[in-house]
């Protein structure tokens, strides 16, 4: 599965567009992580607990998007994008793109 942020993939051509594919995840840190993050925010610097939260959310959103694209019969995703938001201490990440079938030129 090739996933790119561009419209075209060099060396390949799109033979079929399957449609839009998504991967969505909402994650939260537990009370332990939130307390540590709160303490870190007092003194400043990187809040590692929330870096972990968003890194894992990004990976899980991408995993789900690719799984959905595979289920659609695609072998590549073009124009892949990420979007994120937050709800209190929860982080939401969505990965989306266009599921396509490609073949080598």
């Amino acid at each position: 599965m090739i996933v790119v942020t561009t419209e075209n993939i060099p060396g390949y051509r799109v033979v079929e567009v399957k449609g839009t594919t998504f991967g969505l995840i909402v994650r939260a840190r537990g009370i332990g992580g939130d307390i540590m993050a709160g303490l870190r925010s007092v003194v400043g610097g990187e809040i590692k607990e929330y870096t972990v939260l968003l890194e894992d959310a990004r990976k899980q959103a991408l995993d789900r998007m690719i799984k959905n694209a595979t289920a659609m019969g695609a072998n590549a995703v073009v124009m892949c994008r990420y979007d994120s938001g937050n709800m209190g201490n929860m982080g939401e990440v969505v990965a989306y793109g266009t599921a396509v079938v490609i073949e080598k030129v």
Binding site: M1, R29, G30, I31, G32, G33, K48, T51, V52, E55, D56, K59, Q60, D63, I66, K67, N68, A69, T70, A71, N75
Partner: protein, 74 residues
């Protein structure tokens, strides 16, 4: 007085229970992925370095199921 002490003890116990549950539930994604790739997975060029643990992981992809496996590389 006994009520105040009971209240404080209850709050401390509740916090400890929540911390234990949090420790069990709040795990890193793919932390069960190790160095042994299951059959059916193909290597990809996708490599990520974890921003906190600095672990390098290569992504393996199963084209039949769409699952991804994050193999730890040294």
């Amino acid at each position: 007085m006994i009520y105040i002490i009971s209240y404080i003890v209850f709050q401390v116990l509740l916090l400890i229970i929540l911390l234990i549950i949090s420790k069990i539930k709040d795990k890193r994604l793919h932390q069960d992925h190790g160095e042994v790739v299951p059959p059916g997975f193909e290597p990809t060029n996708e490599v990520t370095i974890d921003p906190v643990t600095q672990e390098k992981r290569r992504v393996y992809f199963n084209p039949k199921t769409g699952d991804r496996y994050y193999k730890i590389e040294k």
